[in-house]
């Protein structure tokens, strides 16, 4: 739990130092810095988690039998069926060639990245410190780069599928002629609406996940701070930390689910013409 924060107080850290330290990325400049910076912690953690989760599923899928499934296979099929059902309800095309596998990837990967929040912040930080990394943020989805990367990738896919389904002309026609109709004097309004939609989609998609995970992390840090203020604070922070962790199980799963659902909805909408 969070009692180990008491140790942190002995190092005479100020609260702002403590929080700032935990929210600092392991940034690695590529050349000029600025945009050309790489968050090594975010990238390594997310890639490791992605390989781990999809590798596990792949390992089970490779040995999948059509006969009586093992418990392991049954569990994977449970997740598979859950994702497939959601996609089936939203998207009515050939979902198996791309959209459903994408939804599975998004769900499992985002879930795994969110689930890093369950690890006690300070124990994980100490562990990474012992490996020689002074700063290491554990939750890749509390990095706006991750959520924005996913949302932008989905955004590009959305435009790609939109053009693929309607043709380039059809897509441009839709930009100007929906939702208010094809009369020339409503073109500007239509275009403005569509632009707002295209801008707001990736923003809301990415910021929702980022905000939830970032806030969750900050609350763990605040509880850690409280735990450093003495016995009462330690007990209170331990109890509240446990409560927040349990509640966080819901948030982690829910945000992964929402992110997946929005991905599917956006991609399905791209296939529909107005």
């Amino acid at each position: 739990m969070t009692t180990e924060h008491a140790q942190q107080a002995e190092h005479a850290l100020t609260p702002s130092n403590y929080i700032a330290h935990h929210l600092t990325f392991n940034a690695h400049p590529l050349g000029d810095g600025g945009f050309w910076t790489l968050h090594v912690d975010t990238l390594v953690t997310s890639v490791v988690l992605g390989l781990l989760v999809m590798g596990l599923v792949w390992w089970v899928a490779r040995g999948a039998t059509a006969g009586v499934p093992t418990k392991r296979q049954a569990f994977v099929e449970l997740v598979f069926g859950f994702v497939d059902d959601q996609v089936k309800n939203i998207f009515h095309g050939d979902r198996h060639s791309f959209i459903a596998p994408t939804a599975l990837t998004v769900f499992l990967w985002v879930f795994a990245m969110n689930a890093m929040d369950f690890l006690p912040v300070d124990i994980f930080a100490k562990f990474m410190h012992s490996l020689g990394f002074d700063t290491w943020r554990a939750v890749p989805t509390s990095d706006i780069n991750t959520t924005f990367a996913l949302a932008l990738a989905v955004w590009f896919l959305m435009i790609f599928f939109s053009i693929k389904a309607k043709g380039l002309g059809g897509w441009i026609h839709e930009l100007f002629c929906s939702p208010f109709g094809s009369k020339i004097w409503v073109w500007p309004a239509n275009f403005l609406f569509n632009m707002i939609e295209y801008v707001s989609k990736p923003l809301s998609h990415s910021l929702r996940l980022f905000g939830n995970m970032y806030a969750g992390e900050v609350i763990f840090l605040l509880l850690g701070l409280w735990a450093a203020t003495g016995l009462t604070g330690t007990v209170a922070a331990a109890v509240l930390g446990a409560g927040w962790s349990i509640f966080h199980i819901l948030i982690v799963a829910l945000q992964a689910f929402i992110f997946m659902m929005l991905t599917v909805v956006y991609l399905a909408m791209a296939h529909e013409s107005h």
Binding site: G34, F35, T37, M54, A61, A64, E77, T102, N145, A149
Partner: protein
């Protein structure tokens, strides 16, 4: 907020993961599940078929059983009838045979009686000849009177 190159790296990682799932994870799972679904559906259909087949077979066996029972009753009836017939026939035959035997016996008896009569006749005639011989002695020529005597014997 610090947007930086991490975004590009993450997007690439995302693309690779999607490619991996599309290519290697989704198809085998889908295949396994769809095959199992088909197998279960086939199994259920086969069970349904088997149940109706069983019903048909039960009906058929019942019909066969009834038919067999009916046939058996018929055969028993026929056998009884035949038995009666045989008994009747035997009775008739026995009666005929009995009558025949009786008639034969009667004929034989008549024959015996006739033969006895013949014998007696012959003996009577010779006795009569011997008696007459003793009575008449020399007067009577056996040769001259034998015709008369045999005529007498025939009249007996």
């Amino acid at each position: 907020m610090n947007i930086n190159f991490t975004l590009v790296a993450q997007a690439i990682a995302f693309a690779v993961l999607i490619w991996f799932t599309v290519k290697f994870v989704w198809p085998p799972l889908l295949k396994a599940i769809e095959t199992r679904q088909k197998e279960i559906a086939d199994g259920l259909a086969a069970a349904q078929e088997g149940r109706s087949a069983l019903e048909v077979a039960a009906k058929k066996s019942e019909a066969t059983l009834n038919e067999a029972k009916q046939k058996a009753t018929e055969i028993i009836g026929q056998a009884e009838k035949r038995a009666t017939q045989i008994v009747e026939e035997a009775k008739t035959n026995a009666k005929v045979e009995g009558d025949r035997i009786i008639a034969g016996a009667k004929a034989e008896i008549d024959q015996e009686v006739n033969r006895a009569k013949e014998g007696l006749r012959a003996q009577v005639s010779s006795l009569a000849v011997a008696g007459a011989e003793k009575i008449l002695r020399k007067e009577i020529d056996a040769k001259a009177h034998s015709d008369m005597l045999s005529k007498l014997a025939a009249e007996l």
